[in-house]
């Protein structure tokens, strides 16, 4: 939960991880987790742990653990209402960080701070700092438009533009003034491939994106964000409007994507958080109650409220 402690844990795991072959590492982690789960009974969390055990849980101890965002004593007010209270946490680079917590506790609000989408709302007041690469996100030297190309966002409802698939993916680059057809084509292709959508749409890039299925649309939105080669992808409940199969596809995708990108995801599904994330932050009433490795958090949460929430006793 505490920033330093957290780093220490990660660091201590690192040599181990590099010693073991990467393929074996998740296995040992998840087997251990599964054992602990077995001794604790069933329920949603238990099911989540089964999935952890099934090997979907990504490898811990990836080489790059430098912080992507450092949130320092952040407070956010919607006119009088304080939506975020003294938030302190560090989002590690090249990891999947999940935000969980009951509705209205400020997960989306914090997420929107990372690409400054809150700027668009009127009567929002923020104090505290968010550092990205050591630079204050809200400082005068940060260009919002440029920031949003580095920090992409995928929304709860798929929101493709009503234009062709190609134009959707090329949108961000074209906004930067890039017109070179060949280059655009290449980026569109690689982005769609990375978003695991290319094979489904490669023959109809001119088709209207709104004609795709919901799951395809969401992957298109991911491709659209990837096309800008961002450092971070923020996802606000990206699978809540999708069926289980589409959800699975997106989850698998995230597992691939974290090699290149830092992912922060808001989710209401404990299983999803357990399956895909490396770190989890539990929010309650505008505060971060607990922030820890996902495995630790789900297996032995240090706060009673976290445990209650995870095991479905409230929220």
């Amino acid at each position: 939960m505490n920033l330093l402690a957290d780093k220490k844990i990660k660091r201590s795991q690192e040599p181990m991880a590099s010693a073991a072959t990467p393929d074996l590492d998740p296995g040992s982690q998840t087997a251990e987790a599964a054992d602990r789960y077995m001794s604790r009974g069933s329920g949603p969390v238990a099911r989540a742990r089964t999935q952890v055990a099934a090997g979907l849980k990504p490898a811990a101890g990836l080489p790059d653990l430098k912080p992507m965002f450092e949130v320092q004593d952040l407070n956010l007010y919607y006119s009088k209402f304080q939506a975020l209270k003294h938030i302190n946490l560090t989002i590690p680079a090249h990891q999947v960080t999940a935000f969980i917590g009951p509705s209205g506790c400020g997960k989306s609000t914090l997420l929107r701070c990372f690409n400054r989408m809150n700027d668009l709302l009127e009567e929002v007041r923020i104090d505290g700092r968010i550092l990205m690469d050591g630079r204050d996100l809200r400082g005068p030297q940060t260009d919002v438009v440029e920031l949003r190309t580095k920090v992409g966002m995928v929304f709860q409802q798929p929101n493709p533009f009503p234009m062709s698939i190609f134009d959707n993916v090329a949108y961000g680059l074209r906004c930067q003034g890039i017109k070179d057809r060949v280059y655009l084509r290449q980026v569109v292709e690689t982005s769609l491939k990375k978003a695991a959508l290319y094979d489904e749409v490669k023959d109809e890039l001119d088709k209207n994106a709104t004609k795709l299925s919901g799951g395809q649309q969401q992957r298109l939105c991911i491709a659209r964000a990837i096309a800008l080669q961002p450092q971070v992808i923020l996802m606000d409940e990206p699978t809540s409007a999708l069926d289980p199969i589409a959800t699975l596809k997106i989850e698998e995708l995230m597992n691939d994507l974290k090699k290149e990108y830092t992912i922060v995801i808001v989710t209401h599904s404990m299983q999803q958080a357990a399956r895909i994330s490396d770190k989890t932050a539990f929010f309650l009433l505008g505060e971060v109650v607990e922030f820890d490795d996902t495995v630790t958090m789900f297996n032995n949460p240090s706060d009673k409220r976290t445990e209650d929430y995870i095991s479905g006793r409230f929220g």
């Binding site: 690409n115 929304f155 929101n159 074209r174 209207n208 800008l228």
Partner: protein, 407 residues
């Protein structure tokens, strides 16, 4: 259901049915009436010819006599020239003077090969002589090679002129005649010019103003006030705009070199009248563009103006097209505001900086002249109706296309 409830229900249903029937019947009657009165006067010539009669001197490229047969439907009193293939009729013009009217021209007749010999810019141009032209005089060549004068000036009536031509001539040389006139080509052109100019002025301003109100400015007191003001303007009768246009907009047209009423002044006035309509329609179209699209665009590092022009406006296009259609219909139908600003003088060659009439004003002018011609007015009305209909269909089609592309 008890009896009285059933009765009430029946009466209410009957009333709605009756009201609809009355509305449909009235509309149908108007259309049928217009068609019956105007249809006979509606012709290609009406649309393509000038309003003012023209006196022309013409000669013929192929004036030699041939052999023609009279059309089967030749009217009883008409005289047909078998050598030159046209029919003549005695008539009187609006000033009760005697005239000779051409009632039929064979497609191969020498009259089709006429060209203008009157000195001036039109000299040498082909000017085929059509039905309804009134012949003043003509020269033909007789068998001895002599030039002979015939026509009204030589005391001829229709029968004697045709008699002279068909018995003693080898070719016709030249003719002095008056074109029929009464066409509305000039007014159609003026209307189109007016529509074009008005749209060019009102669309950019109206759309950008709507974008400002809806996308750029926050929802505060000031914008609410602006909106209210625009709404109020919407209800002001157009004749008031016409009057103020003469005073306030005339100096603007002077900058472009207008010296009085002009199409430009009319267009500016119409633009002022239509501004609230366009702003309103565009705003409504902007409001329904989903917020998620704006967010999506901004989150991809688009600037606000890129978001507006690449995502928001294209999605509002059907609504903007509707605004355009409404504007065009209003311009076509407007008369009060244009009487002062564009004049009531029918012009055959409308110029932007000169006075002209639109079709609607021409109807007003036809009906308020000394001899109101209801049939002609109806014919012009029919043309207006057709223009509006055509426009509606076009916009529907475009909108359908667009929404199919985007649906």
């Amino acid at each position: 259901m008890n009896k009285s409830r059933r009765l009430k229900d029946g009466i209410l249903n009957g009333l709605t049915w009756l009201s609809t029937a009355v509305a449909v019947a009235v509309l149908l009657l108007v259309f049928i009436f217009m068609f019956r009165r105007g249809w006979s006067d509606l012709s290609w010539d009406l649309i393509t010819t000038d309003y003012w009669p023209q006196n022309l001197n013409v000669a013929f490229r192929q004036g030699e006599a041939g052999a023609y047969t009279a059309p089967a439907d030749l009217a009883a009193g008409d005289s047909f020239s078998t050598l030159y293939g046209f029919a003549l009729r005695d008539a009187t013009d609006t000033k009760k003077a005697k005239t000779l009217i051409i009632t039929y021209v064979d497609p191969d007749s020498p009259l089709e090969s006429a060209y203008i010999t009157t000195a001036g810019s039109q000299q040498g141009l082909n000017q085929a002589i059509h039905e309804d032209a009134s012949v003043q005089m003509l020269y033909y060549q007789d068998e001895d090679g002599q030039q002979v004068l015939a026509g009204l000036l030589a005391g001829d009536d229709a029968a004697s002129l045709v008699q002279k031509l068909d018995t003693g001539s080898v070719s016709i040389q030249s003719m002095y005649y008056q074109t029929a006139g009464g066409g509305i080509r000039g007014s159609i052109l003026a209307t189109l010019l007016l529509i074009g100019l008005t749209l060019v002025i009102v669309l950019p301003i109206g759309i950008l103003a709507a974008v400002y109100l809806n996308e750029v400015a926050g929802r505060n007191r000031l914008t609410a006030l602006l909106r209210q003001a625009i709404e109020t303007l919407n209800g002001v009768p157009s004749i008031i705009f016409g009057l103020s246009g003469v005073v306030m907009l005339f100096p603007v047209t002077q900058l472009f070199g207008a010296s009085g009423q002009s199409i430009l002044l009319g267009a500016l006035t119409m633009a002022v009248i239509l501004l609230p309509v366009v702003i309103r329609q565009t705003e409504e179209a902007l409001i329904v563009v989903p917020q998620s699209l704006r967010m999506g665009s901004l989150a991809l590092g688009a600037t606000r103006s890129q978001t507006i022009f690449k995502v928001v406006l294209p999605n509002a296009l059907p609504g903007i097209l509707t605004a355009t259609l409404l504007s065009v219909s209003r311009v076509i139908g407007e008369s009060a505001a244009l009487i002062y600003t564009m004049s009531t003088v029918v012009t055959d060659n409308p110029k932007i900086l000169q006075p002209a009439t639109s079709l609607a004003v021409q109807i007003w002018q036809i009906m308020s002249s000394e001899q109101p011609d209801f049939k002609l007015a109806s014919a012009v009305s029919l043309i207006i109706l057709m223009m509006v209909l055509l426009l509606n269909l076009t916009v529907k089609l475009i909108t359908r296309r667009l929404s199919r592309r985007w649906a």
